[in-house]
Symmetry: D2
Subunit: 432 residues, 4 copies
Amino acid sequence: MSRFLTKTCPRLILAGCLPAPAARSARTYASTASPISQFDWEDPLLSKNLLTGEEVAISETAERYCQEQMLPRVLRAYRDEHYDPKILQEMGELGLLGATIKGYGCAGVSSVAGGLITRAVERVDSGYRSGMSVQSSLVMGGIDDFGSAELKERYLPEMAKGTLLGAFGLTEPNHGSDPGSMETTARPHPTKNGYYLLSGSKTWITNSPIADVLLVWAKLQETGKIRGFVVDKRDAPAGTLETPAIKNKNGLRASITGMIHLADCPVPKENMFPHVEGLRGPFTCLNSARYGIAFGTMGALEDCITRARTYALERKQFKGNPIAKYQLVQKKLADAVTDAAYGVLAAIQVGRLKDEGRATPEMISMIKRQNCDRALYNARVLQEIFGGNAVSDEYGIGRHVANLFVTQTYEGQSDIHSLILGRAITGLQAFV
Amino acid sequence: MSRFLTKTCPRLILAGCLPAPAARSARTYASTASPISQFDWEDPLLSKNLLTGEEVAISETAERYCQEQMLPRVLRAYRDEHYDPKILQEMGELGLLGATIKGYGCAGVSSVAGGLITRAVERVDSGYRSGMSVQSSLVMGGIDDFGSAELKERYLPEMAKGTLLGAFGLTEPNHGSDPGSMETTARPHPTKNGYYLLSGSKTWITNSPIADVLLVWAKLQETGKIRGFVVDKRDAPAGTLETPAIKNKNGLRASITGMIHLADCPVPKENMFPHVEGLRGPFTCLNSARYGIAFGTMGALEDCITRARTYALERKQFKGNPIAKYQLVQKKLADAVTDAAYGVLAAIQVGRLKDEGRATPEMISMIKRQNCDRALYNARVLQEIFGGNAVSDEYGIGRHVANLFVTQTYEGQSDIHSLILGRAITGLQAFV
Amino acid sequence: MSRFLTKTCPRLILAGCLPAPAARSARTYASTASPISQFDWEDPLLSKNLLTGEEVAISETAERYCQEQMLPRVLRAYRDEHYDPKILQEMGELGLLGATIKGYGCAGVSSVAGGLITRAVERVDSGYRSGMSVQSSLVMGGIDDFGSAELKERYLPEMAKGTLLGAFGLTEPNHGSDPGSMETTARPHPTKNGYYLLSGSKTWITNSPIADVLLVWAKLQETGKIRGFVVDKRDAPAGTLETPAIKNKNGLRASITGMIHLADCPVPKENMFPHVEGLRGPFTCLNSARYGIAFGTMGALEDCITRARTYALERKQFKGNPIAKYQLVQKKLADAVTDAAYGVLAAIQVGRLKDEGRATPEMISMIKRQNCDRALYNARVLQEIFGGNAVSDEYGIGRHVANLFVTQTYEGQSDIHSLILGRAITGLQAFV
Amino acid sequence: MSRFLTKTCPRLILAGCLPAPAARSARTYASTASPISQFDWEDPLLSKNLLTGEEVAISETAERYCQEQMLPRVLRAYRDEHYDPKILQEMGELGLLGATIKGYGCAGVSSVAGGLITRAVERVDSGYRSGMSVQSSLVMGGIDDFGSAELKERYLPEMAKGTLLGAFGLTEPNHGSDPGSMETTARPHPTKNGYYLLSGSKTWITNSPIADVLLVWAKLQETGKIRGFVVDKRDAPAGTLETPAIKNKNGLRASITGMIHLADCPVPKENMFPHVEGLRGPFTCLNSARYGIAFGTMGALEDCITRARTYALERKQFKGNPIAKYQLVQKKLADAVTDAAYGVLAAIQVGRLKDEGRATPEMISMIKRQNCDRALYNARVLQEIFGGNAVSDEYGIGRHVANLFVTQTYEGQSDIHSLILGRAITGLQAFV
């Protein structure tokens, strides 16, 4: 614990300056150990028992920040479809960005600790977690895994602080589930040596309108192979790069999403990832982000449980009974609590394997698919408990439902992960 | 057919003035009979075979209006959470309001015809259908069933035209599923003879902010029994009646919803329904509205099918195959098409029984519950077909999903209908 | 009604000789009209309203026979995996075999009436209905549709009486869902003019061990096209035809199932269906049988509802409450009753279209798939109501559950029908 | 590992004498570590990583015995509804009975090791696991937890060897889910000092017909409190104790089930558990057995997966494709594999907590409910892969499906566990 809180990441000391949680927080932290033999509906299978002291501390710091600083902003942000980039800066100050990366001012924590951070953020909103995932897993993780030493030095420290924002450009308008068919290309600059020209369009790119740096995947004209390029917006000549926002989304409205249009945008050769070719590059980044989603969505589900339970205890119908007393309501709660507990265990297990180098992409497909699916399913069922009141956005659960549907479709739509698993189980591919 | 189009409701002649459907419509009408032995995915069990010529004509008129006049407005209306009251006027001009009522300028069509109208409207948007249901079934229907001759003459003709709008005040903030516990009261005016003073609050009242006339249910102080009052906003003294809008809804954003606050609002005794006491009054109105919901939601589901099918045929992934070719996609379509076909048959059957006086409230609970549940379930599954693109509101399916969730919770939340059915099946009540 | 009961099929007069139902029957017939506005859990959407008087009479005759004569035998038959061929004779005496066929001693009733018979039989046991479906729809129906006048005259009258039994040989060990790949062949007899020699194996053939006549589908060597042959067991030389029983089944144990092994079995050319080639022949037969399954499984589901409801009313747990009073139990009943009601309406609708020549195979795929799936699903859920007692075969519901699983897999496994529907909806086939 | 294999339980040496698994086993043991980064569909989330070497060894010993010795007998046993008591003796010889008990010749292994044994046994058949659970958890566990030193010495060593068999009498014909209402009584013997007379009936008692010792729960007449009695069949006077078998079960046919009828059966006071009163006694035993069920059912599910996968790879339909190549088949496999992986992780977690004294009964309700429900659900879905062939008992999956339904209903029917969880989550009971 000490390393995280004091040495690697002194900024976390700030956490201590926050008001005591009891005073302000919307959520009571399970910071004191449950007495033995007491069932805790917030951690029904005592997953906390599997965490190190450091991990518990990180989780508590993240939860406190999220409940106290982020939660009060989300209702309005979602209504207005507005994303405040300061949130990433605040996260940076707490050491929450790129937290699993070693060096470059990053905290260097375990994968499980990284997952606990995503859970804390997604307990507030999946959109906020998406913004963080892009910064931490997709862009910083990609640069850390595949970038040259120079790229790392140039970008990671500022990104860790949240003062430089990133976006990840893989998906194209006509190629969602099948990125191998991408059409974006990089060709040698006809006149300017040491430069590529990138052309093509990317869509559904979280953070693209506010990002300073875009990690863009494109096919190198010379080889036809997919390569990764760090496109620095600040260096792009006018007219070669646009990142318009996409508005009027059904979900993840508290995050910002856009496109990337490249029209012969020049990028220096040094900004190309040197050693990774083909889909291995983007898939490695996605793998890491998917792990965060698998853990994060459990936070959203847990928040739905808390909200539904509170509502059910307070709402009285038929002879003054709280509706929490009705069998049909209790079954909904029992199902959701169970799925959340199982999902957290699976996420912890895969995190441990990840740090041991034993996690396979299929494992991450499995937990990404299952946790998103079950979070969404249960959130929807819990929403029924609110009856007609669910239509008011004040109760928050409709926002989670809308968000979780999106998490089920991005970074591998659920059916695609089914087929990835099916292929791993049978040895036969069924995509076509 | 002739009666509907020419005698009872001459305004329907207007329908003939609309441009030919082929020229403008977003939907191809199945107006020419399918050739024998050809499966029609839009009417898989040939429910049209069960309709009269008049009903087919009414359905086509309504569909044409909805696709041509309403559909182009809905995207913006939903985004902006704005309801245009002119829509009810247009419906009135076509004879679509209170269409099953006989006399008073109403069309006097069959229950099935009424259901076909709700299907046409809800194919566009459940919010538009909600606005119409309130006007037609809850308020006009209530006045027609229980109002004095004077009330009928005074209100029905204008309401049929859509120039006078109504709202239905039953649900209270603390009494949703259990209206029998309502707190709104009517007491004799202490000084003004022949008047009651109404006090209390109603919530989630569709149309209340724009309504001219409110059908309010309140407990008569003298008897403790629930009675119905037609509260004419135009006669309410300042400060006794407010109908503020509720904003920031998760669904039904193209309809307008509000509260009703009554503070010693004086209502003349003649505006009380003379002969109905207790829950029979509001439940009769609800019964009629629920029938419309049961039929209407099938329209929303059918629109989801159409949209998902089109998308699946156009969207290509993996070696250029349209995703409609994939088994997992086809199963989703097959399930939805089946549920829509079954739901329409059930709605027609109950409509016929209704007109024969053989429909029981439990039948309507059954089809309201089942059709809302299956419409919602399938809409959600079909939404998966759109993958990440589903998050864009341009595809429309997310709007249906959000709307259909609300239809599942209003006018009897699904679980409440389960218990109504359970009671009818077992003879035992399980509400408490 | 009169035609059925007196003219076409005088044997039905026997029905009048049965003891009065009130005295012995396990089921109360809804023969007297329900009073208006009374919900009838046994016919919740009043499907009876859609039947002719003749159809009601046929249904009652069939129900009475099934409840009084078949029901008492089924428990032992299922335990012992024993099928009593006398049952088909009894059905024949009542005019229940090949009932929709006109002439040849058959009753010539409507498709809906035929469906009502399968519902009555399957209310007792899906195995008994299977035995009847093979005789009536697959074999008699096949001969009636495609056989020469001589074949009809020779076989149909005796089959209608149940004194001559049939089996239908289409499925092969390696070709279940894809009969077009069948390996059974018919080649011209090398020496005996006017004869074919049939060779190959068929499996999962209901009734094959007890059948006198086998309708076998084989590829004609000369053309490679599938043709139908009426193989008369009585004429097969020793060693050329075997029909061993398959024992130790998980379901349908009250029916008898076997294989057909043909080793150069000689069949006269006159026994080949003259004008039908390819899969149209067997698929037409299957279509008719599938219609019977769609209607029949609703009977099995209805019996599960009756049994579960009775058990729930009689079983008391927790302070002496009948478990029927619990919400979780009522929901199970409400769901099942709803699906049964919807399924019956769909079956009636398709029956009417069938008689009008407007039913397509996809419609039958739809109702076969949906009704089998929902019958199975709900039967399983209802079985939960019995708790630990469900394991006893005395309660009957476990038998229905096991049977209904088989109905979901035969005559088109559920997924195959999904793909048939998917093809019809999208115009794209996804089988391979 | 050494302690288990050599010191505590020398009989396990026998395991070494069994033929090498490769030669005969129906299952390949995952005894050699998977290479890193290789997805293993038999252990998708690498739960083995959480086991000690000893636990792995125990699991392998148990799996080997079960696959080699038990599996070949089960098909016939199930068909004939015959249980061979020698199986318990063989288990005893291997040290598998009461394995978590310390002393008395028991192996004293961890709860997880105990769970791995149940998984190995239930991979073959839930009935065999039931027979073992009764012996190990319910009776031996009960005596170990609550019996006097004399009772332990007298019974545990022989029971550990499997030479003395036990049964557990709690459930009564009229009191399944609510044992607190039991009617069996113990009254002081009117003439014989130091004896109680037990009267009452117990039903659905696994092993009762073959048991030597019955652990019977009865209400003490003097206090009205429930107490536990070890009823030794060998001491019961003629006519006071009968344990007839219940035949014709739908599931668990490879286990033996019966009743216990007590008619003033004398039991010495020393055979009453001295210090435990009320439902705490039986619920503690059930808790332990339920843990075994939660882990065991995962074995049954895993066997269904293996069987379905093998079938899908071997079965070819449509252009010679193995059906494992179809999307609808792959999705079924992916779902089942995921649920099995999650369920195993949860079972391991609760086992660890159990050994730390931190497992609550609600945790065990949670994993018992979820693992039984998911095992059953997935087994049924996997069964669909077999199409019509599923009806043959040779494929084994139908047996698992029938068994798993029973596991869902016994030792707490699924809905009862939902309400136990609901109570723990909300603080409100909803049983009545």
